[in-house]
Amino acid sequence: MGFYHEESEAADRDADKDLALNHQAAGELKKVIDEIHSLKSSKSKQADIDELRIHGTLQFLTMRKLNRLAHFRCKSVRDSTSDAKLKIDQHHLKLQNLLYEAMYLEKEITKCLEFKSKDEEINLVSLEEFHRDAPESISRPSVTKDDPHQLTLARLEFELEQRKRQALCETHKPTEEKKNVLAAEIKTKKEYLESLKPKLQTILQATKPVQEYLGMPFDEVREQHMVASYLPRPLYVLYMQATAYRDACDQHVSACILGDIDVAKSLEGVSQHLDVDDDESDQEDSEKPDQKRRRRDSTKDPLTVKRQKLLTKHPLTVDLTVHCKDGSSLHLSFAYLIYLEIVTVTVRVDPSSEAVKDGISTGDLCSPESLLKCLYPEDLGTETPRASNKYALQKLGMGEFSQYVAELGRPYLWVQWLCGMQVLSVCDDQPTGTPQLSLSEIHMEGTIKRLRQRMKHRLSLHRQLSSLGLSLGRTEWLSLIRTAMRSFLLRLIHVWRHGNDQRARISWRASPFTQELIGQGIGREQDLFFNGTIVNKSAKLDFFCVLPPNYPTVVPLFAIHLIWSSRKGIANADHVRDMAAEVNIHFSELARPRHSEEVLTNQIRRLLMCFDVYLESEFDLESSLGHSEIPKEKTFARTALGPNRAKPFKYNSHLGYFSQR
């Protein structure tokens, strides 16, 4: 508090007055000291001296006080000085910054001023010329009038435009010249060709007798090609691909076009006419052409005419003949159903002379219905592959397409493929108008191969079956089975006689011992059936054979039944079952590899063998009882094995003995 007081006191008081006060006090003090000195030397009274000393001390105090104040003052002056100094420093710094900035800006400005643009080197047209010549779109006077920058841009653009034009002009001329030269060349060539035509015709005329003499079919081919142009598109694709395939790969395939060309010509006009009609009705409703046609028919014509119309074939057919190595051949006749838009095939087999001797041509095995079934898996050719046809047939109350198969031919899927038509069985109606060549190309070779194979297998199957009836001992097939047979084939229903397949099929369904197999879905519509009987003394073995259409890829299945009059009811059903397993499952044993055509013979042979083994082993067990109807001839290690007392049906062809499986 005192400190603060003194500080403010120092500020309040005048410094000069204090200085005067100080001088006065110092003078007083000096005077006092002198007086005291004089008094001391005069040896005056102590009281005077004391009085003077008090006075002197007072002066001293005053000086002290003044000294203090002087110090305070000095301090406050120093403070204010340093404050002022700081302020000056700050201002100085700011000044420096501003100076530097100004210098930088100046530098930039000079840099900009010194920049040289490229356009300054380009010689532009003068301003007047520009305003006069430049089109409005480039000059844009509204913008460029006030803006020199835009003006320059516009002038540059104009310059570019003009230079481009110049360059084009330069190339134009030589091109024109070139064109003229080419035109002239074309003209001379045309003249040459035109002069050639009558010459060629005369040559052709002249060669005609030679052609006829040599039997060369150039003209015939030409005619066929001419006729081909009247073929409906799918058959055309087929014909083209077939001839191409013949020329390129396979001389033993031939294709030709049959039918009435005039009718085809007239039909072409008619069908166009029909199309026109359709177009008119298109404006009334937008349904499918099939249905439209039918609807119109139904209003104009009686039902039968309409039905016939729906099944109309195109008058031209393509005939494909596939020749096999053994001299037999397969004739396929492809027809196009105009309104159903599908292709059907009818087949005929021309057997070789040897086969004719065996009576093959009349058999069920090579019948047109069954021959081509399942050429591709599940392709039966009874249903129309186009779903819309079903609706068309239903609408006219014509039932299933399969009823008409005999008269129209079979619409197998592969036939549609060969004709380039991709038919999806469920979701139908791909655009039908554009058969694809590539599709036909993909399937042509494979299908021809399959046709050949099917033909070969059927004929071999037929030979096997017919030889089964005559002699089972044809040694070349049986080289692996060297044991003598006692059982013999008593009766084989001749499947190659017409209708026997149907009879066998009915008895297959009725037989008690086939019921389990039928329950398992064996023996479908497309399979062929035959049955037979094997006998040995009083024992009899009835068998059914289910012959799949794609034999021998799928091996025939046997169902067998044992009847033994002298030992009724004794037979163990399991042994019969084992016999069937032997032929149905282990058919590949004892067969020569890569001789798939012998499969059926081998199976029947095996069945005979197993039957022999069965009977012999049965009697072998009983031989102790004293009577033996059938002597034991075959060698087997054991007569029974396992809980089911299995018989030794497995034949070891190297060592010649029988053993259990």
Partner: protein, 277 residues
């Protein structure tokens, strides 16, 4: 070996050609189930058919087929008895897996085995027409040889003399056996047949005691239930035309020459069938 076979069958179904698939279907048509067994916990039933499954012991213990396996536990430890195709009963120690002996005497292969209640004797039935009782401790010749086809009650010359099945009841007094001869109940102390269970059209393949009745089945599609005095209690139709195996575990399962196994929950009728493959 069996496993490989099964896998090849499976793969044929998955990615095989059409021929392999057809072959697999055909194998199913000709499937025969030879044996079956319940696991101790009662949750599993193991079956074996002619294409897929083989007995585990076949490869390691014998060179011939094993037609029947029985488990014996007596003072000598646990033993496994196998009735084999080499006319002998083989014995294996279960702990070590080693072959400990054979019972020789039959002249044809063994069809079935039964173990008596004291676990020291076993009974074998053979293709040679004899039923023999063996002492497992002495392992010599058979103690008794029975020939069912010598008894008037059993003989059926038209079927042969082979015995396919034998079983012993809990009281250890009664035995049932049959095959070519009629299925008969034998008294073990007298060693003579006391009652016949006649199936004129069929030979028995398997028989077992269940409480106070006998259950049997054979070469006809029926399971027979008999009372001990020879009366027929029930004749239950089943799927396989020849039954090879019966097994019980509160329910009765019937297996034979079919790819289906019948399950009878109530013993007196077929409840449902299970597919083997």
């Amino acid at each position: 070996m069996a496993g490989r076979h099964l896998i090849s069958l499976m793969s044929a179904w998955q990615d095989g050609s059409i021929e392999e698939k057809i072959l697999a279907v055909r194998q199913r048509l000709h499937t025969t189930v030879y044996a079956q067994c319940f696991s101790p916990c009662g949750k599993y039933l193991v079956t074996a058919n002619n294409f897929g499954f083989l007995a585990v012991f076949r490869e390691s213990f014998t060179q011939t087929e094993v037609n029947c396996l029985k488990f014996v536990h007596n003072e000598n430890g646990s033993q496994l008895l196998g009735g084999c195709g080499d006319h002998q009963v083989h014995m294996w120690d279960v702990e070590s897996g080693s072959h400990v002996g054979t019972l020789e005497g039959h002249t044809n292969y063994i069809h079935d085995l039964a173990v008596r209640g004291n676990s020291n004797e076993c009974i074998s039935a053979s293709e040679d027409g004899t039923v023999r009782i063996w002492d497992l401790r002495s392992r010599g010749q058979a103690q008794h040889v029975m020939q069912p086809n010598q008894h008037n009650l059993c003989v059926r010359p038209q079927y042969g003399k082979f015995i396919t099945c034998v079983a012993v009841d809990k009281s250890d007094n009664l035995m049932v056996c049959g095959g070519g001869p009629r299925l008969c109940l034998w008294h073990l102390r007298q060693l003579a047949p006391t009652a016949q269970f006649d199936t004129p059209q069929a030979t028995a393949n398997t028989a077992m005691f269940l409480e106070d009745s006998v259950i049997s089945a054979g070469t006809e599609p029926f399971v027979h239930h008999w009372s001990l005095n020879g009366d027929q209690r029930a004749k239950v139709p089943c799927t396989p035309s020849t039954v090879y195996s019966l097994a019980t575990n509160k329910i009765l399962s019937v297996a034979g020459n079919s790819h289906k196994i019948d399950i009878c929950t109530n013993f007196r009728y077929k409840a449902f069938s299970m597919l083997v493959c």
